[in-house]
């Protein structure tokens, strides 16, 4: 009897084991989902639902959405005709400022990674622009004030600050300084992955400095450069404070500023929402591209 029951009970155990394992995994999954629920709820309520709501409002005329919605595609047509200059101005400012970052940021990141020992100090100083474009534009305005102390110093150096107080260069400069750390961060990450030995090898083999750049450094750090440029571009698309404080009306004709005026001052919610949707689409597209070229914070 004992000999017959023993083999019967033995195969039963391996059969039962996968079941409990599956149940265990399912339990683990449920716990994981439970842990993610609060974060997902917050993102759903205050990010995803409002954005879908925005798309819906953008398809209604004026502020009719809140009384009897009149569905129409007119708002996007208006953005595409009367406000096409606003879209172009936004793209122009963002690309020029990001280009400035690229040109000045690349040598900065290279020197910082390869030659500088006081990197922690440099990082600390680089947090100033990150406190926000508002303080930056405020400070720059004061620097460019013709009768201020900084203005007179600059004037003595031969720079006529009165020409720059409300101008394209001042706006672009403030935008570029704000996004400079993002560019340096991305390029620095890319450059620190390039082995210095490769540069030395190229030098030993008789390459000129510009050859080292075009043949070795640039190809190896291209992903980081592109990611940095796109990240700066994405941030600069939503520019608001710098044109308002440092630009002329021409520079103030950007999507964020016009959207604020339309929505919260003229109560044309439909048009403001349409501009928001256009800006959102641009920003998401740029971010998507940027994430394709960088490995991202999680290395995935």
């Amino acid at each position: 009897m004992a000999q017959t029951t023993l083999p019967q009970s033995l195969p039963a155990e391996p059969a039962a084991l996968p079941l409990t394992e599956a149940r265990q995994t399912r339990r683990q999954t449920l716990i994981g989902v439970g842990l993610l629920t609060p974060a997902a709820l917050v993102a759903l309520c205050f990010s995803i639902v409002p954005l879908f709501y925005l798309v819906q409002v953008s398809l209604t005329r004026g502020s009719s959405f809140f009384f009897t919605p009149e569905y129409t595609f007119d708002n996007f047509q208006t953005v595409g005709t009367r406000y096409v200059s606003t879209v172009w101005q936004t793209l122009k400012l963002a690309s020029l400022a990001s280009l400035l970052d690229l040109v000045f940021g690349y040598p900065f990141a290279y020197i910082l990674i390869r030659k500088v020992r006081y990197r922690e100090f440099a990082r600390t100083m680089m947090t100033f622009p990150l406190f926000g474009p508002l303080y930056l534009a405020f400070g720059m305005f004061y620097i460019l004030l013709p009768n201020g102390p900084f203005g007179s110093i600059l004037q003595a150096m031969g720079i006529n600050v009165a020409n720059y107080l409300f101008s394209l260069p001042a706006t672009l400069f403030a935008m570029a300084v704000f996004t400079f750390p993002f560019m340096v961060m991305n390029m620095g990450a890319a450059l620190s992955n390039v082995d210095p030995v490769l540069e030395e090898a190229a030098k030993t083999l008789g390459a000129k400095p510009w050859q080292i750049f075009t043949r070795v450094l640039f190809p190896l750090s291209r992903g980081g450069i592109l990611a940095g440029f796109l990240m700066c571009f994405g941030w600069n698309l939503g520019v608001f404070a710098q044109p308002l404080l440092l630009g002329r009306l021409q520079e103030q004709n950007v999507l964020s500023v016009v959207m604020y005026d339309k929505g919260l001052i003229q109560f044309d919610y439909g048009l403001a929402a349409a501009m928001g949707v256009v800006l959102m689409a641009l920003a998401f597209f740029v971010t998507w591209l940027s994430l394709r070229f960088s490995r991202g914070a999680l290395g995935t």
């Binding site: 995994t25 683990q28 716990i31 994981g32 989902v33 842990l35 993610l36 974060a39 997902a40 917050v42 993102a43 309520c45 205050f46 990010s47 995803i48 409002p50 954005l51 709501y53 925005l54 900065f108 020197i111 500088v116 922690e120 440099a122 990082r123 600390t124 100083m125 680089m126 947090t127 100033f128 990150l130 406190f131 926000g132 508002l134 303080y135 534009a137 405020f138 400070g139 720059m140 004061y142 620097i143 300084v177 400079f180 340096v184 990450a189 698309l237 939503g238 608001f240 964020s256 959207m259 604020y260 929505g263 919260l264 929402a273 800006l279 959102m280 920003a283 991202g296 914070a297 999680l298």
Partner: protein, 281 residues
């Protein structure tokens, strides 16, 4: 023959000083370039600081700072309170979410993370207009403190989440398993073992949330009302309505100085390791 030997010996010696000088010049240019940009980063702050302590007839005065603790006190208190509340809410939702994403077999992790990070990629003005519409007509909480906190939380909790995920990935399972084997409950293990080890990652998240929320003005401009004007928004509205006043400069200086001191303290204690790949360097 003797002459040629001399020239062979002399030749390598001759360019030596020139190459050294060339190298030194290059180093000066390189470090000068770095310092030039570092100076540009600090200049707007220094200009604002100078403007706030400047007297009309010449000389220095701190009289503009009486407004910081006078008429701006409510704004500063609101900024501080909303920052602290946002940090607490962020911690409460980001730590469980990080555990869920790293330690548990949840399907579609990349999609979930992208969705949670969506608000990070949304331009502030778009977030502002979408929230002002949703608050007024969907949630019925226009111009409220709760709305303000919700906007800050949704905008910054990804910045809390990412450093904690990085720290949690670096933390081997061994510690948790050892605590469990030694008879610790899940809560004890979390409180005594894991949270202290995750400390730097969590504090990086706190720093990022602080820097953003304390200085945020654009989303606030859209959703705030007369009773929910933060200090950063006050700087903006005063600049737009009253022009450039020393009192506004004093408020802007105070905000930047507080932010900078917190960053400095953080870098002294933790370094910048856990900030890599996030908003700050």
């Amino acid at each position: 023959m003797a002459v040629s030997v001399e020239t062979i010996v002399a030749r390598p010696a001759a360019p030596e000083p020139r190459r050294f000088r060339h190298g030194a010049l290059l180093a000066v240019v390189q470090h000068g370039y770095i310092w030039f940009w570092l100076a540009i980063f600090a200049m707007p702050f220094l200009a604002t600081l100078f403007y706030s302590v400047q007297q009309t007839g010449g000389g220095l005065t701190l009289s503009a700072y009486q407004y910081v603790l006078g008429s701006f006190r409510d704004n500063l208190v609101l900024s501080a309170v909303s920052t602290v509340v946002t940090i607490l809410v962020n911690l409460l939702i980001a730590i469980p979410a990080a555990y869920g994403l790293v330690r548990y077999p949840v399907p579609g992790k990349n999609l979930i993370l992208s969705t949670l990070n969506l608000s990070l990629y949304t331009p502030a003005a778009v977030m502002g207009i979408s929230l002002v519409i949703a608050y007024a007509f969907l949630f019925r909480i226009p111009q409220s403190f709760i709305g303000l906190i919700a906007a800050y939380v949704v905008g910054t909790f990804p910045l809390m989440l990412v450093p904690i995920i990085v720290a949690l990935r670096d933390l081997p399972m061994v510690y948790e398993e050892a605590a469990k084997t030694l008879g610790a409950s899940r809560w004890q293990s979390l409180r005594r073992v894991e949270l202290p080890l995750l400390g730097p990652g969590i504090s990086a998240g706190i720093l990022l949330t602080f820097v953003i929320v304390f200085n945020e003005f654009l989303v606030t401009l859209f959703i705030a009302g007369p009773n929910t004007t933060t200090a950063a928004l006050r700087v903006y509205t005063l600049t737009r309505t009253a022009g450039f006043q020393p009192s506004t400069a004093a408020l802007a200086t105070t905000m930047q100085l507080v932010s900078f001191l917190v960053v400095l303290l953080f870098f002294q204690v933790f370094g910048s390791r856990y900030l890599k790949g996030t908003y700050l360097i």
